[in-house]
Amino acid sequence: MPIIVYRLLVLGITTLAVVAPLSLVVYQSFLTAPFFDHSARLSISAYSFVFAEDDFWQALWTTAAIAGGMAAIAVPLGALLAFLMVRTDVPGRQYLEPLILIPIFVSAVVIAFGYVVAIGPVGIFSTLAKDVLGFVPWNVYSLFSLIAIAGLTHVPHVYLYSAAALRGLSTDMEEAARVSGANPLQVALNVSLPMIMPAILFAGVLVFFLGFELFGLPLVLGDPQDVLVLSTYLFKLTNKLGVPSYQLMAVVVVVIIAITAPLVFMQRQLLRQAQRFVSVRGKGLKTQALRLGPWRWVAFGTIVFWLFITVVVPLTGITLRSFVVSWGEGVDLLDVLTLDHYRELLDYPNVVRGITNTLGIGVIGGAISVVCYTAIALAVHRWNSGWTRLVDYMVMVPRAMPGLVAGLALLWVFLFVPFLSPLRSTMFSIWLAYSIVWLAYGMRLVSGTLLQVAPELEEAARVSGANDLRVKRDVTVPLIKYGMLASWLLVFLIFVREYSTGIYLLGPGTEVIGSLLVSLWGTGAIDLVSALSVVNVVMIGVGLAVAVRLGVRLHG
């Protein structure tokens, strides 16, 4: 097979997988009824209907407020955290690093459940506070708490990019500032942080963008107070009119994508700019940590406090809850310890299927996805052609679709295309949705590995007489083997934690832990939810432990 056939084939399949769901959504948004309804006509009535809804506008402004608020919290904290971790002598840095990244890897619904059972009205920390203070000084079900929690749990995203940028910068300029007499805080504010501004700016746009994707937190924390964001508004629309109101959902989806797509494009431009900055790289000199003196314990305390709020509180809350019958005022936790919730999990065949399916999608599905991402990356690798730009853009498109939206679009594709329908209730549909949603992430992992293959290793094979495909098989793929394994592990972590993509595809046979958690939460089965959440966290914990052990970089 000539290489061009392979390339065009891969390009065609990728484009189809990305464009089909998107175009179906856009088409549906201009119909008067679901696309399978024969009475459906072309019209903009769905837009008029949605735009006349107060709830919709309310949700839109709330989303913008949350996105802006969480960026305002996460960006300064994340940048400061990066400076403390990368440039100063804060104690125990190597142990703190993996802990800081936990909020990225734990599913947002699990964190939300954790907050509810920990600091909700009858949460364990709330009862403790009531015993001591006589009242509960916080209310988890408020817009303010939602913004604060969203902001704090997104600090690691900013941290990752800021830290990477700082590590890429030579410390010469900081040392020059210190020699001139600047104290550590002045060094941070006047030299280090301005130099990584492009990276911080990128992270800010990223967090703002992630604000529009938020689903788990507002669903769990906002819903009881009728705080709706676009994603939860979309979720609620499902049953709004009693009949499937696909055209209205499609309109909301189009609105969401119309907001996120420019943000994705902006991130792409900013990332390029940030990377250009990073190339001002010093030689691999040993960097001298900035001495904070006694202040390093203040910094350490602040980091630990933040970790306590964002990691310890929700995770201990959910874990404790999964081992007790109930709690409240005057209940001694030791009296109510139980393993029943875990036994109960086994009584529900759908939950058992959900657990095995989750493992399956993580291990097997993840492996197949990495193979697919590699196939795409190899197709454009060293391809000197304008077509590679098309692939770049194709990969960006699903990034603009939040998981919930992509899952919905995929569901419609499976309903729309006759020969695909039988696959809808199989794990294939879940796998396809996950693979498309995480296409950009996976491609970045694999391309990063491919970039490290020196071009002359491939040229040497061509000179020896191997054609393009043979070079890929004999040289490129063997060289990126370990990179592919690392990508597999990271994709496993992502797939196991994923909860929003599978919601619309949830049915007998396609249960995964994430979507089950959302649907069980709706029924109020808090015992099951907490036990299943812990199972999910344990799976992720094992994956993370293996990754750290093998020295896999936790960020692409």
Binding site: A454, E456, L457, E459, A460, A461, R462, V463, S464, G465, A466, N467, R470, D474, V475, P478, L479, K481
Partner: protein, 286 residues
């Protein structure tokens, strides 16, 4: 014809059947020495037994017979380079191309590798194209040098011809260490060209067809410049600036206004004014 931009010919690299030794060697880190060398034969569908025989023979020729099972990272830089050469030789290409093969070796090793490479090329009767920026390396290793200037051939010929009879100013200045005299062309008569420098008449060998009265450039190798204490033909009065001790000899730098002339001497001279002589048979006037 492999490549011709004007005629839009570009044969894919795998169809050229050439041997290429990369500057960075480009040994495949996931293959052993044996497999690195055997790959070209495998691609040509050579039977396994024959591959074994030919790889062993090639490795023996380059003196790495014992290291066939090692991986590239277990070899020294010089050994890696030999493997790269073996890999290019094994399928007996009509020509092997060596792309600055010695530039990754440190100075001492480079001289050894140069001698080894020259011997290998002569004993195996190879046709090799050796790309290099190092003129000493080029003269030592080549039967014929092609000097390229911005993509076009400036001069080609035996190393001795290039060094002793440069055809152009570029070739003259590129080879060896040179002094450059700027002046005006006074006359050309037969085998002599006379130029005026600081009002003195300096005679050399004419190398271009420049018109009398136009600007001329005289080029002379450092080793041909002589020092004298009295005026004479083809001598310029100059001041000795900085004598430098190079070990086997001294290098003297003379100056007069913007002109600097360097020369070698067996012993240092006293600072001050001297006469620098440019023997007419060693000075090229362009």
């Amino acid at each position: 014809m492999f490549y011709d931009a004007a005629r839009k010919i570009e044969l894919p690299a795998e169809k050229r059947g050439l041997g290429l030794v990369f500057q960075s060697y480009a040994l495949w880190p996931h293959r052993s020495v044996f497999d690195n060398v055997a790959y070209g034969l495998k691609l040509r569908g050579t039977p396994t037994a024959e591959i074994k025989a030919r790889v062993d023979k090639t490795l023996a020729q380059i003196g790495l017979g014992a290291l066939a099972e090692r991986y590239p990272h277990q070899l020294s830089g010089g050994q890696q380079q030999r493997v790269a050469i073996a890999r290019a030789l094994v399928y007996e290409p009509p020509v092997i191309l060596l792309d600055e093969p010695l530039s990754n070796l440190d100075a001492k090793l480079r001289e050894e590798a140069r001698a080894w490479l020259r011997t290998l090329i002569v004993t195996l009767g190879l046709s090799a194209i050796h790309v290099t920026h190092d003129q000493v390396e080029a003269m030592a290793i080549a039967d014929k040098i092609v000097l390229l200037d911005a993509g076009t051939v400036a001069q080609e010929g035996k190393p001795t011809a290039l060094y002793n009879e440069p055809a152009t100013l570029f070739a003259a200045e590129f080879m060896g260490s040179n002094n450059r005299l700027d002046g005006t062309l006074l006359e050309i008569s037969g085998a002599n060209a006379t130029m005026q420098v600081f009002g003195e008449r300096i005679t050399g060998l004419p190398r271009s067809k420049a018109a009398v009265g136009s600007k001329a450039v005289g080029i002379i190798r450092l080793e041909h410049v002589r020092c004298a204490s009295v005026p004479g033909p083809n001598r310029l009065k100059m001041e000795l600036k900085a004598p430098m001790y190079l070990g086997e000899r001294w290098e003297l730098a003379f100056a007069r206004e913007h002109l600097t002339v360097r020369a070698y001497a067996a012993a240092p001279l006293a600072p001050g004014e001297h006469y620098v002589e440019f023997p007419p048979e060693a000075l090229w006037v362009f």
